[in-house]
């Protein structure tokens, strides 16, 4: 199958062009040997189906980061290249274009953000640009779809300009002369979006904007999550699924191993979706009715913030704080991702350049950043005792994040490079692109989580039945009861935390813990050890030696923090 690769600078709307070209059937893949994600889809071209790849954004073909290296490698297998160029920043974008034109791959240029040129007072002579570059140039506005048809129609006309290889200075000289001939810029006033953009990287206004944005994000996530649970999923489970389960429970005789595995233990003669712990009760209720709503609302808000272009500004604002933790501002992005799921978050630490930063960021994320699944359970179980307890859990984790970061900065050797990032202008997100991303992330969650949750529920029931947990609980009782003040049965939750943290916290539900014990339990579960999916990624990212170091830090930090909480509260 013929391969078309989309390549361009970061933030030029490449992903939106990709969405326009490919529609719904998009696969997110991991580049072999690299933990860099890329998207692959299909489109019809004439009568033929061709593969379309969305390469990671890159400024040059002399890669600095892993992501850029992947972009360059994908290029070598391409039959045709679509170079997506930001028309409002032609000069810098042309550097990559010129490098591409020195390769022998047929190329076509999508001059995107074409509508923005008008209100930014930029005039570009398209015919002249085509002539000078020697390849087709199509103006596009990917967010509205303008020019996409023409772009597709012109793909067969893609050609290689076969320019001779040039030096860096020669390229900039050529670019200077091209810009001279094709572009006129007239002065115009700042738009409100640009004023807002400037305000959000200034210390005081930027801080206020950040607080407002984060508070709004939190409220919206809660509102959507709660509404989905309260008005959609709980009623669905209670009115449709509960009757089915109680019938089935009767058929299975109301007790016994098989009944416990499939339906779970009856609580007061009824199936309890949280506490029964059977495959068809808690096994389905936890992922679909407790966790999925928060996964959806979190990723919706995150996707909007990403596509609006807010996150790089947060990186600038957070840079000073993050340097105290041995990181730089950009590390805030994987950290935020971690509030959804630690797995993509640790993958995203790849955007950090030094090994030291990656170690610190990955360790801090897996210790102090609870994923959406765990947070949903914290809200559900701890929140039932009162909001102040949820605040204690979050406050503790935040303090751990800061204190441990400061310690790691002083202990871990190596260097942390400085921040150097482009801050894209604010843009209105395209709903279709946001929803496509949301769908891919939610589907990824279900595919990963549901089998593991069901497996965990099954294993727990079997282990209970054969009495292994009792043995284990007695063995570790001194630590659990004396240090953490939890009943010895809670150890099973800590063990199961290795499989799924949401399930593990759910296991604390039938133990009738006090609010204080739930707080300690939640914090220890969050910090103690990563879930299996995160563990695998950490192992791959850090290597065995650093993974062991990281795990040692996790276990000791969890026990110290849990012990302190038990003493203080």
């Amino acid at each position: 199958m013929r391969k078309i690769v989309l390549i361009g600078n970061p933030n030029v709307g490449k992903s939106v062009v990709f969405t326009r070209l490919t529609g719904i059937n998009v696969v997110v893949g991991n580049y072999p040997g690299k933990t860099v994600e890329y998207k692959r889809g299909h489109m019809k071209l004439g009568g033929e189906t061709v593969e379309v790849f969305d390469a990671p954004g890159t400024y040059t073909l002399d890669p600095i980061s892993d992501a850029e290296e992947v972009a360059v490698r994908m290029l070598s297998s391409a039959d045709t290249v679509i170079n997506v160029v930001d028309a409002t920043n032609l000069e810098r974008n042309l550097y990559l274009t010129l490098q591409l034109s020195e390769r022998k791959i047929p190329m076509i240029i999508a001059l995107n953000m074409w509508d923005d040129t008008k209100h930014r007072g930029i005039m570009i002579d398209l015919d002249k640009l085509r002539e000078l570059l020697g390849v087709p140039v199509i103006s596009t506005v990917a967010v509205t779809g303008e020019g996409i048809k023409e772009l597709v129609g012109n793909i067969p006309r893609a050609i290689s300009a076969r320019n001779p290889a040039r030096s860096r200075d020669e390229r900039w000289t050529t670019i200077g002369s091209i810009i001279e001939q094709v572009q006129r810029v007239t002065h115009r006033h700042h738009t409100w979006r640009e004023r807002l953009a400037d305000a959000s990287v200034k210390p005081i206004t930027g801080g206020i904007i950040a607080l407002v944005v984060l508070a709004m994000a939190f409220l919206v996530i809660r509102f959507i999550g709660e509404s989905l649970i309260g008005y959609v999923l709980e009623p669905l489970f209670n009115s449709l699924w509960a009757p089915v389960l109680s019938k089935l429970s009767g058929l299975l005789g109301g007790s016994g191993l098989l009944h416990n595995i499939i339906i779970g233990k009856l609580i007061g003669g009824e199936v309890d979706f949280v506490q029964s712990f059977g495959l068809l009760s808690s096994g389905l209720y936890v992922p679909f009715a407790m966790v999925l709503p928060y996964v959806l609302s979190f990723y919706l808000v995150l996707g909007l913030l990403e596509d609006a272009g807010y996150l790089p500004r947060l990186a600038v604002l957070m840079d000073t704080l993050m340097h105290r933790l041995g990181l730089h501002g950009y590390a805030i992005i994987p950290t935020l991702l971690g509030l959804g799921c630690n797995v993509p978050a640790i993958l995203a630490t790849r955007i950090l350049e030094s090994k030291r930063e990656r170690f610190i960021a990955a360790t801090l994320i897996s210790i102090a950043i609870p994923c959406a699944a765990l947070q949903a359970m914290i809200f559900g179980l701890v929140g039932a005792h009162g909001g102040q307890y949820v605040v204690i859990v979050y406050g503790t984790l935040f303090a751990v994040w800061i204190i441990l970061g400061i310690i790691l900065r002083h202990v871990v050797r190596g260097f942390t490079p400085e921040l150097l990032i482009e801050i894209p202008p604010y843009r209105l997100p395209l709903w279709r692109a946001v929803l496509q991303k949301l769908w891919m992330r939610a589907y990824g969650f279900l595919k990963e989580a549901v089998p593991i949750i069901l497996g965990a529920v099954l294993i727990i029931n079997v282990l209970y039945f054969v009495g292994i947990f009792d043995m284990f609980a007695n063995f570790t009782a001194p630590v659990i009861t004396n240090l953490l003040g939890l009943p010895k049965e809670a150890v099973t939750a800590v063990v199961i935390g290795f499989l799924r943290k949401d399930v593990a916290l759910g296991m604390l539900a039938p133990l009738a813990l006090s609010a204080k014990q739930l707080v300690v339990g939640s914090v220890v579960l969050a910090m103690f050890f990563p879930c299996i999916a995160t563990f695998v990624i950490l192992l791959r990212e850090l290597g065995i030696v650093n993974m062991l170091k990281s795990a040692g830090i996790m276990i000791s930090a969890a026990l110290i923090t849990g012990g302190l909480l038990n003493l203080i509260l």
Binding site: I64, T88, I122, G206, D319, E418
Partner: protein
């Protein structure tokens, strides 16, 4: 005075504009800045700097770029002449 005052990007004030004269750094730094279009003879405007030695934000080619303070101290800029 025919030439404008030379300062590092770190010491420029928000709102000031000037031309990049040279980058006093190694190959790595020059390459990274090159990728973002920050090269000698390029005009830049400083937009803001963060408190407590945080990064500075500049505008180059109508794009905004945040630069860590250490790097900003290695970028030498000739300030535009401001009529008195």
């Amino acid at each position: 005075m025919p030439d404008g005052k030379q300062v590092t990007l770190a010491r420029m004030r928000a709102g000031q504009s000037g031309m990049v004269l040279r980058i006093e750094g190694g190959h790595g730094l020059v390459n990274r800045l090159n990728a973002l279009g920050i090269i000698p003879s390029k005009r830049i405007t400083k937009i803001s700097s963060m408190l407590m030695r945080g990064p500075v934000t500049i505008e180059v080619n109508r794009a905004q770029i945040a630069v860590g303070l250490g790097m900003a101290s290695k970028i030498i800029v000739e300030l535009d002449e401001v009529p008195a």
